[in-house]
């Protein structure tokens, strides 16, 4: 089992806990463990004052479920140092848009972590949308597999589109000729 994550393109150890609300649990009541944690948006909203200092130090971060509007965090992005975005299934692509919005519209600069069903075959797209931390589920990959997967972050070296990672589309990023050379 690997409790490692990929951070800025490197495999590193990580012991941050992701807190979730179980069925019937109330944000105001649950215990927020000591040490580095990611708490659900609802817990953050209910207990902002209490968690504020820990958030400023980076110990507490907030994670959003797919479909939760990133606008809910807009006012806190200056103080939060880590935000998680959840992939309930790897085929649920909402968090790609959420990441893009956090990085561009809201100018978020801290750690942006992909959590949930995070698979190596999406690492390239995730990093291009602004995730700098990728946390596959525990036991999904061996350390060796994770090391091997790091390379896939660069599957496409010079993509067509503008994205968080490439602020300019290809046609503004490189010289692509005039096209006249192909005319008959």
């Amino acid at each position: 089992m690997s409790d490692k994550i990929i951070k800025n393109g490197r495999v590193v150890a990580d012991d941050r806990l992701t807190v979730s609300l179980a069925e019937g649990e109330v944000p105001a009541d649950i215990a927020v463990p000591a040490g580095p944690v990611l708490v659900p948006l609802a817990v953050w909203q209910a207990r902002r004052e209490e968690l504020l200092a820990r958030a400023r130090s980076g110990e507490v971060g907030v994670w959003l479920a797919a479909g939760e509007d990133v606008a809910a965090l807009a006012d806190d992005l200056g103080l939060l140092q880590i935000v998680g975005l959840h992939f309930p299934k790897f085929t649920d692509g909402r968090s790609y848009s959420a990441a893009t919005l956090l990085r561009t519209r809201y100018g978020y600069q801290g750690e942006l972590r992909a959590i949930g069903q995070v698979l190596r075959d999406q690492f390239n797209y995730m990093t291009r949308c602004g995730f700098d931390a990728l946390q596959p589920q525990a036991e999904r990959y061996t350390d060796e597999q994770l090391e091997a997967a790091v390379a896939s972050i660069d599957d496409f070296t010079q993509p067509y589109q503008r994205s968080v990672k490439d602020p300019l589309p290809l046609f503004r990023r490189v010289e692509r000729g005039t096209g006249r050379e192909v005319q008959q």
Binding site: D92, Q158, R172
Partner: protein
């Protein structure tokens, strides 16, 4: 035609390498079937009834002769010697081996072809007017815009896992030849009062089990904003489209739920952030891409040609073919030719390796080395000198590609249906075959005139049955194949959805039903009225009455 530069080629090569590795890991058991599924789909690979099905993209339907030869080669080396041309201008192989697909992709990449995003919940192949650049009624050439948008959509990291598949089409002429209103985004190239070029933007069209026609959300979008505006649409959809139910996940459901106005407002709001940003298309980029679509080196030819007229007058078969399969061209002395893939006895859209090689040869000899796929599952040679038509006709006829039935009854649009597709309720190819055999007589077909007959094997509507003048839909009734018939659908400018005429029919009844529909038309038609005109004038009732009048009572079982 667009030619790759080093960037296009590198990206494609990287994609091939990526998929090769994914396939390797899958075969080694490292990548489960579930995790592999969306990856293979986005590389065109389905698992179907008998074997994998491999769908290759043909952006806006353009094929160079060397690409056709490559497809012929793939058909021979990896399949059973033929391929299938689809209504979304893709090419499908029905019998490849799973483990061969990476190699097929590498072969395709060597001629600038791919299977990018031909399936899966992502932005699919983008289609455009097949007669772009040659049609007299064209506002402007849509292909540079289609190519620019293709590049934006290709390996787009934000929109690879949408709620559902997403299809975009461009219309660029007075006459809609792409069925614009059945697309998730329909872009209608127009000029505003100042003569500037832009798009009328439609969203939320789609067929499938809930057919809905796209609605306009923006009357005029200046072309510079094409990418940023599409991005705004996709972002709103990616965030808020339904994901709880596969059948309610298309953008059409979101647009319907919000209403086109509210949806358009949300898009505007999103767009306000990206508008005028780096995604704004530059004049230089448009010029670069447009140069690839510059007109070929036409000769200056007279509009009239006595020798040609003489051939026409002297050869009835040739004249019939010219009348049905040859279209006007904006360049004097030239014509656009449609090669029919609808010869009786072959499945609509099926084309053999030998035919693909021949089409490539014909394209080289007569049409500047290019062919175009039509969504009606035929192939066009768009730039043929009129003086070459006779020779072209003879060569095409020898290869079974000159059936003079374009737009007629046997020019059937048909999905692969139960013979190949695992989603099918019923087979569709045998229906097409039975109809083609029954109505093979060309004089009869010409008397009936223009008619669109579309067949889908299930409500996914791959055969566009909703917009056929006659639509046939396979339905399942106690594990038996039944067919629902609708009439009155139309594609083109006034796209409408057909109406079901009543209870479904058994396979062996269908030909009789078509006969009765046609008889009714022949009796009721006014001069110069097409089948659809008569249906629109008199309504469906007389047709219905005739079809069900003397139906055997024991057959009234299927109320599907």
């Amino acid at each position: 035609m667009y030619q790759y530069d080093e960037h296009d080629q590198r990206l494609l090569d990287q994609r091939v390498a990526q998929f090769r590795d994914q396939m390797r890991r899958h075969l080694a058991g490292e990548l489960s079937a579930d995790e592999f599924r969306p990856l293979r789909l986005q590389n065109g690979l389905y698992i179907q009834r008998h074997a994998p099905m491999f769908r290759i993209s043909v952006p806006y339907g353009h094929l160079a002769s060397r690409q056709l030869r490559k497809l012929a080669h793939l058909a021979r080396s990896y399949d059973r010697g033929y391929a299938h041309f689809t209504t979304r201008t893709n090419v499908q192989f029905n019998w490849p081996k799973l483990e061969d697909v990476p190699e097929m992709l590498a072969e395709l990449a060597s001629v600038q072809m791919h299977a990018n995003q031909t399936s899966g919940n992502c932005i699919r192949n983008i289609t455009a007017d097949p007669f772009a650049g040659v049609a007299a009624d064209e506002v402007a050439d849509p292909r540079p815009f289609a190519e620019i948008l293709r590049q934006w959509a290709t390996y787009n990291p934000e929109f690879a896992f949408l709620p559902r598949k997403f299809k975009i089409a461009f219309n660029s002429a007075a006459e809609d030849r792409v069925v614009l209103r059945v697309y998730d985004i329909g872009l209608d190239l127009v000029r505003n009062e100042a003569g500037e070029l832009g798009f009328r933007v439609l969203v939320g069209g789609g067929l499938g089990r809930t057919p809905i026609l796209g609605e306009e959300i923006k009357p005029f979008l200046p072309w510079q904003h094409l990418i940023s505006y599409c991005e705004a649409i996709l972002r709103v959809y990616n965030r808020w489209g339904r994901r709880d139910n596969l059948w309610k996940a298309r953008i059409k459901i979101l647009v319907k739920a919000l209403g086109p106005e509210e949806f358009g407002r949300q898009v505007e709001e999103e767009w306000a952030n990206g508008k005028d940003g780096p995604n704004t298309i530059t004049a230089a980029e448009l010029a670069r891409v447009s140069a690839h679509f510059a007109p070929p080196a036409y000769e200056t030819l007279p509009a009239q040609d006595a020798a040609f007229d003489e051939l026409l007058a002297g050869n009835k078969a040739f004249a019939t073919w010219v009348k049905r399969n040859v279209r006007a061209h904006r360049q004097p002395g030239y014509a656009a030719v449609v090669l029919s893939l609808k010869k009786t006895g072959t499945a609509p859209g099926d084309v053999t390796a030998e035919q693909m090689d021949l089409i490539a040869d014909l394209a080289d000899r007569f049409s500047f080395g290019e062919a175009r796929m039509l969504h009606e599952q035929n192939v066009a040679l768009a730039d043929v000198r009129r003086t070459d038509l006779f020779e072209l006709w003879q060569a095409a006829r020898a290869a079974g590609l000159a059936t003079p039935n374009i737009g007629l009854l046997t020019d059937i649009i048909c999905c692969p249906g139960g013979d190949f597709c695992s989603l099918a309720n019923a087979r569709s190819i045998p229906i097409a075959d039975a109809i083609q055999r029954r109505f093979d007589d060309l004089d009869y077909q010409h008397d009936i005139g223009e008619i669109d007959l579309n067949i889908s094997g299930c409500m996914n509507s791959c055969g566009h049955h909703h917009v056929g003048h006659i639509g046939i839909l396979g339905v399942d009734k106690n594990d038996e194949e039944w067919y629902q018939v609708s009439i009155g659908g139309t594609q083109g400018n006034g796209t409408t959805l057909g109406k079901v005429i009543g209870p479904s029919f058994a396979l062996d009844e269908i030909v009789g039903v078509i006969e009765k529909l046609l008889e009714t038309y022949v009796e009721l038609r006014h001069e110069d009225e097409r089948f659809i005109d008569t249906v629109q004038r008199v309504g469906t009732e007389p047709f219905k009455v005739r079809v069900y009048a003397d139906r055997q009572p024991q057959r009234k079982a299927a109320h599907v």
